[in-house]
């Protein structure tokens, strides 16, 4: 591992208050609301399967894959970056990244969420996308056009890429700005270095199939209108700026 990658990971570790670095035990963290808390937009049944089965399986498989290997004892973020292996992914990557992605995703939502952000977050969105509506269009388009399974992200692109894992991010972008990106399957912006994720939407079919079947665009719209926790996004922006300053 290059030291730059580790520095970066350490920063993210602080940012998201992840578990201990020694003998890390990965646990299935519950969403910060009851499983019926997002009804009627996202059904309890969806949460029961998405959190109770899919997320749980990622956690359990990760534990099995890590135990007794060189990854044992590393933080989740370290495992993600190490196992991404510059795009030539190692077996633990998918489970590790999916555990992180789902932890992050649950915290992106709240009962009675949605609407419009405020304060500095709104200012930066307007600065970097032109308007909140244009941001919405771009984010929704990214989520709708991710071929197959994956994720769409709003991220704070904080600094120059560290190069270690920077095989395929949109590296022509300027630094210190908000960007919308999408990623396939389990991939998340941590692997590129320099990106601080602020918001994500899961566009694997399991995230919406019980509630919306094939209508992914409807799921994306209602997620933005009624579920996004802009408070969570704002506080992540604050932390990202502090860490990258």
């Amino acid at each position: 591992m290059a030291s730059l990658g580790l520095q970066n990971v350490a920063g993210i570790n602080l940012l998201f208050k992840e578990g201990p670095k020694v003998n890390a035990k990965f646990e299935l963290k519950p969403p910060p609301y009851p499983l019926n808390g997002l009804e009627p937009v996202m059904s309890q049944q969806t949460l029961e399967f998405h959190w109770g089965k899919h997320h749980r399986t990622y956690v359990e498989n990760l534990k099995k894959q890590v135990v007794g290997t060189e990854l044992d004892g590393k933080s989740l973020e370290e495992i993600i970056v190490t196992a991404y292996n510059k795009g030539d992914i190692l077996p633990a990557f998918n489970n590790a990244a999916q555990v992180w992605n789902h932890d992050f995703f649950w915290e992106c939502m709240k009962p009675g969420g949605g609407g419009k952000p405020s304060g500095e977050l709104l200012e930066l969105i307007e600065r970097d996308f032109g308007s909140f509506e244009k941001f919405l269009d771009e984010f929704k388009a990214a989520a709708a056009t991710q071929f197959g399974s994956g994720w769409a992200w709003l991220a704070y692109k904080a600094s120059k890429l560290d190069g270690e894992n920077a095989a395929n991010p949109p590296s022509a972008d300027e630094d210190n700005k908000l960007v919308v990106i999408k990623s396939p399957n389990a991939v998340n912006p941590l692997v590129w270095g320099g990106y601080y994720p602020l918001l994500t939407i899961d566009v694997w079919e399991h995230a919406y199939y019980l509630d919306f079947q094939n209508r992914r665009p409807d799921y994306i719209s209602v997620f933005m209108d009624k579920l996004v926790s802009w408070d969570a996004v704002s506080s992540r922006l604050e932390q990202a700026k502090a860490l990258s300053a």
Binding site: T57, F147, G148, S149, H206, Y209, N214
Partner: protein, 239 residues
């Protein structure tokens, strides 16, 4: 090629479009024999509910009427844009369209094969392959059960969305099990591969019935596999 023979289409020449291109360009292209085709949803040879209990009628209906139709709609759209871009010699637009063509065209090719790969039990679904494909499977995989195990293992291990295939390598004259991501057709793995059987392991193919348990879907789908079709393709392509 087997895949091509499956595609249902009609020429655009017979369907006058309201949103025709600017006259000069459109007229020039229309006079060429390789006019734009409009792909349409192929009919299933069985009712939506005919594969129950292995695959529910609700899944079959959504899968065929919504998912497959959307790939066709977006494939037609992309081809129309491609034709415009080619006519305008806009290379960057031509290249940019490749991803949408691969995804949506692949979705159409793959699903067209998939429907043929399935049959109700009373019409022979699930009956192990007879004829030369049965022999070939025993030769290459040891037994029919060994093939099923291999397909199930590779299908279950596939990350995200995709397909698991039994294919014929025409060059090496051997059977192969392969997976492809998203809607990549088998031919993207190697040009000499002919799909005999493709199993859709996108979540939409099983989620309403099997939820997160993809291995159960894979276990049950063998009860409705149409081996006669796979055998016909095999015999045609290996002769």
């Amino acid at each position: 090629m087997a895949a091509r023979a499956l595609l249902t289409r009609k020429t655009l020449a017979s369907v006058l479009r309201k949103d025709a291109r600017p006259l000069g360009v459109g007229a020039a292209v229309a006079t060429h024999s390789r006019g734009l085709h409009v792909y349409t949803l192929p009919d299933l040879e069985y009712d939506y509910g005919a594969l129950e209990p292995a695959i529910s009628g609700e899944i079959m209906q959504l899968h065929h009427q919504k998912h497959h139709q959307t790939y066709i709609t977006n494939y037609n759209k992309a081809l129309e844009q491609l034709q415009d871009a080619v006519a305008k010699a806009d290379s960057s637009a031509v290249v940019k369209l490749q991803a949408a063509i691969k995804f949506n065209g692949g979705g159409h090719i793959n699903h067209s094969i998939f429907w043929k790969n399935l049959a109700p039990v009373r019409e022979g679904g699930g009956e192990p392959p007879k004829g030369s494909l049965g022999w070939a499977i025993d030769t290459h995989f040891g037994s029919f059960e060994a093939l099923i195990q291999k397909v199930n293992a590779e299908g279950a291990a596939l990350q995200g969305s995709g397909w698991v295939w039994l294919g014929l390598d025409k060059e090496l004259k051997r059977l192969v099990v392969e997976t492809t991501a998203n809607q990549d057709p088998l031919v993207t793995k190697a040009p000499n591969l002919i799909p005999l059987l493709g199993i859709d392991v996108w979540e939409h193919a099983y989620y309403l019935q099997y939820k997160n348990v993809r291995p159960d879907y894979l276990k049950n789908i063998w009860k409705v596999i149409n081996w006669k079709y796979a055998n016909d393709v095999y015999e045609k392509e290996s002769s």
